[in-house]
């Protein structure tokens, strides 16, 4: 018979070309997407691990600074006659005019320079055991009383107990004290040890020894619990001695001024609220998948739907030996179709989540999912190489593979305030990216690969239980997960519905942002 020839309409080729191009793009994306997701996950892991390590480091440094500032407070307390641990002292020190000392060219910078008219940094000491109070002592008492009006508190258990060594020579006393104090201070500063009382005491010695030399009518040698208060000195020597006295605290005070300012800020301001933002993570599932005709058939071990379809088909040949190509005269018999067996399934992807309440959060993700089922087939039909067709039979195993891009949306509810268990439920919207699945054709009694018969958009029901590990470092939730396709996987519904479902273990890693202060 002669061939018929017709000219196709002009609109036909652009449609063919469009479909060919779309298939290629989809295939390319499908190939690269899982690698991209895994790469993003690995990069995020490395990044957040580094951030976490740095944060821990900073916290450790911060703690050290606080510890040293506490010891600084103690030293300052000693100097001022207030015990360490007095919080008010911090403010006092902070309130100092931490001006650069005139001795800034020295090693020890940022020495809090105590002005002669100011009392703030000077300890008030209780002088015990005196009966005859000299004018100078009176003045000291007046100054002490004036100190009371400051933010300082007088403490009975004051600090420096210095023994008068009985020096009488003013100059030698000063020199001796100054040198002794400087030596000790240098050693301490180099070692950067927390300030010890000894260094302050040494410094105070200088002052006391000076003051002792200035005393008149003091007939009580012996132990004095003193530190001079202020009018520190108009003389340079006095300044030097005072500077020396408080030199040991210079570095710590500097640190105090640096760190305590932060502490003060922290103390004054309310604790930073941990505002819940959208955070993200990665998830992975692994398990098995299969096809069922409904919830009731999920764990059914009965004959698969293909076999039932074969039995119901009025035109089916008798079930005898496997079909032959060159059949005898008479009816050709065919093998019955295969049972559908479960196959391996997995998925991987990223998600974002936001806390809705104390125990409730919502998650949205993007996954690549792979599902498979297994069947037995006979020989491949080679008469038409353009189509993939198999005879029914049991000579070969064939794996039906489905590749999906999924968008799961779930809500997760924690079971109790401190419980590590939570339950989740939601929906997943999937788009078929590719498949090699064979569908049993009841008319021809063969298996045919035709992706046009697969419903490319699927909606699945999700449900699972999770157990949370490593709550405070890098939370991981792991537990059983289940999904069930609400729609048919295949378009043909002649012999009942077919739903793709998955059951397995799910693991999610939550990357938490550290709240910055």
């Amino acid at each position: 018979m002669d061939e018929l020839h017709f000219a196709p309409s002009d609109a036909l080729w652009p449609e063919v070309e469009k479909q060919i191009t779309t298939r290629k793009k989809r295939r390319g994306l499908f190939l690269w997407l899982p690698f991209l997701i895994l790469l993003l996950g690995a990069g995020a892991w490395v990044y957040y691990a580094g951030v976490g390590a740095n944060a821990n480091k900073k916290q450790a440094i911060g703690k050290k600074a606080v510890a040293s500032s506490n010891s600084t407070d103690k030293a300052a307390g000693i100097v001022s006659g207030i015990t360490a641990g007095d919080k008010q002292m911090k403010h006092t020190i902070l309130s100092n005019d931490s001006i650069t000392s005139p001795h800034a060219n020295r090693k020890n910078n940022a020495i809090p320079y105590v002005r002669s008219n100011k009392i703030k940094s000077i300890a008030v000491i209780e002088n015990t055991g005196r009966k005859n109070i000299s004018p100078q002592a009176n003045r000291k008492a007046d100054m002490a009383a004036a100190n009371k009006n400051n933010r300082y508190e007088r403490k009975k258990n004051t600090v420096a107990t210095i023994e008068n060594n009985g020096h009488t020579d003013k100059g030698s006393n000063e020199t001796y004290a100054l040198e002794a104090a400087r030596k000790r201070n240098d050693n301490k500063a180099k070692a950067e040890r927390p300030l010890a009382d000894d260094s302050v005491i040494a410094g105070a010695e200088a002052i006391i020894s000076k003051n002792e030399n200035d005393k008149t009518g003091n007939d009580a040698p012996g132990k004095n619990k003193v530190v001079a208060e202020t009018p520190v000195a108009d003389s340079a020597a006095a300044d030097d001695s005072l500077v020396a006295a408080i030199t040991p605290v210079k570095d710590n005070v500097k640190r105090v001024s640096e760190t305590d300012s932060a502490h003060a800020v922290t103390k004054n301001k309310p604790a930073a609220t941990t505002k819940k933002k959208i955070e993200w993570g990665i998830s992975m599932n692994a398990g098995i998948s299969n096809i069922s005709n409904g919830f009731s058939g999920l764990f059914s071990s009965a004959a698969s739907y293909d076999v039932r379809a074969f039995s119901n088909n009025q035109n089916s040949a008798p079930i005898n030996t496997p079909g032959t190509i060159n059949g005898s005269t008479g009816n050709v018999s065919f093998a019955k179709p295969s049972d559908i067996r479960p196959g391996f399934a997995y998925s991987a992807g990223v998600f974002i989540h936001k806390q809705l309440g104390k125990n409730l959060k919502v998650l949205a993700g993007l996954n690549y999912s792979y599902y498979s089922t297994g069947i037995k087939v006979g020989a491949k039909i080679d008469s038409n190489k353009a189509l993939i067709q198999y005879r029914t039979g049991s000579s070969d195993n064939y794996t039906n593979r489905f590749h999906f891009i999924e968008l799961p949306l779930t809500i997760e509810k924690q079971l109790g305030k401190v419980s590590p268990f939570s339950v989740n439920g939601g929906l997943a919207f999937s788009m078929l990216a590719g498949s090699n699945a064979l569908e049993y054709d009841t008319q021809k009694n063969i298996y045919v690969k035709d992706n046009n018969n697969i419903n490319k958009v699927q909606v699945s029901l999700l449900a699972g239980v999770r157990y949370r590990l490593f709550q405070h470092s890098l939370p991981i939730e792991i537990g059983p997960q289940f999904s069930y396709g609400l729609g048919n996987i295949f378009k043909k519904e002649l012999y009942g519905s077919r739903h793709l479902f998955f059951g397995g273990i799910s693991a999610s890693i939550f990357f938490q942002k550290k709240n910055s202060k």
Partner: protein, 188 residues
């Protein structure tokens, strides 16, 4: 053949010009194939479009054995049959009753007809008869293969073909008789 191999290679490399060339080379004849299986030109073009997408998708499976045209033609036929099964307007008539074997009627002399006219006559057959007639008489499948393709017995294929052939012959004879009558009236 060499030209076709080069064309196939270029198509596999995704060259749009080569794909267009392949389409334009085979589309007119393949549209005729699709036309024989369907009831309208729109349906025929739908089948052609679907089939050509499959051609380009599975082109890497063509191993070079046999002509490229024959390979593409097989895709057209299968796609046409699937199309008929999927669409409800064909499903009602696309039934193959499992009738016992009937003796084939006596051979009648072949009637010379224009290809287009014959194709139009074939398209007037019920879809079941039309499909089997096309597969056997036009595409050259034997009844065993037709049985496998359509999922019917060999005997059913033979009997349906015989009925289709008998029907066609009766139409052709009737047409010829009518045309002779008209001619004689015209002379008078």
């Amino acid at each position: 053949m060499t030209d076709n191999n080069k064309l196939i290679r270029d198509c596999l490399h995704g060259k749009p010009a080569a794909q267009r060339t392949l389409y334009e080379q085979f589309a007119p004849s393949m549209l005729g194939v699709c036309y024989r299986y369907t009831k309208s030109m729109n349906d025929a073009e739908d089948v052609l479009q679907e089939a050509f997408v499959k051609v380009f998708k599975h082109l890497q499976q063509y191993e070079g054995k046999g002509e490229l045209g024959a390979w593409i033609r097989r895709i057209m036929v299968t796609t046409a049959i699937n199309y008929l099964k999927r669409h409800s307007r064909y499903q009602a008539d696309l039934s193959f009753n499992d009738i016992g074997m009937h003796p084939v009627s006596a051979e009648n002399p072949a009637v010379r007809m224009d290809a287009k006219d014959l194709a139009d006559l074939i398209r007037q057959l019920p879809p079941g008869y039309q499909t089997i007639f096309n597969l056997y008489a036009i595409e050259g499948y034997n009844h065993i293969e037709i049985g496998k393709i359509l999922g019917i017995n060999e005997g059913t294929s033979r009997s349906q073909y015989a009925r289709a052939r008998a029907l066609l012959i009766s139409w052709v004879e009737k047409q010829q008789a009518d045309s002779q009558k008209k001619t004689s009236y015209a002379r008078k």
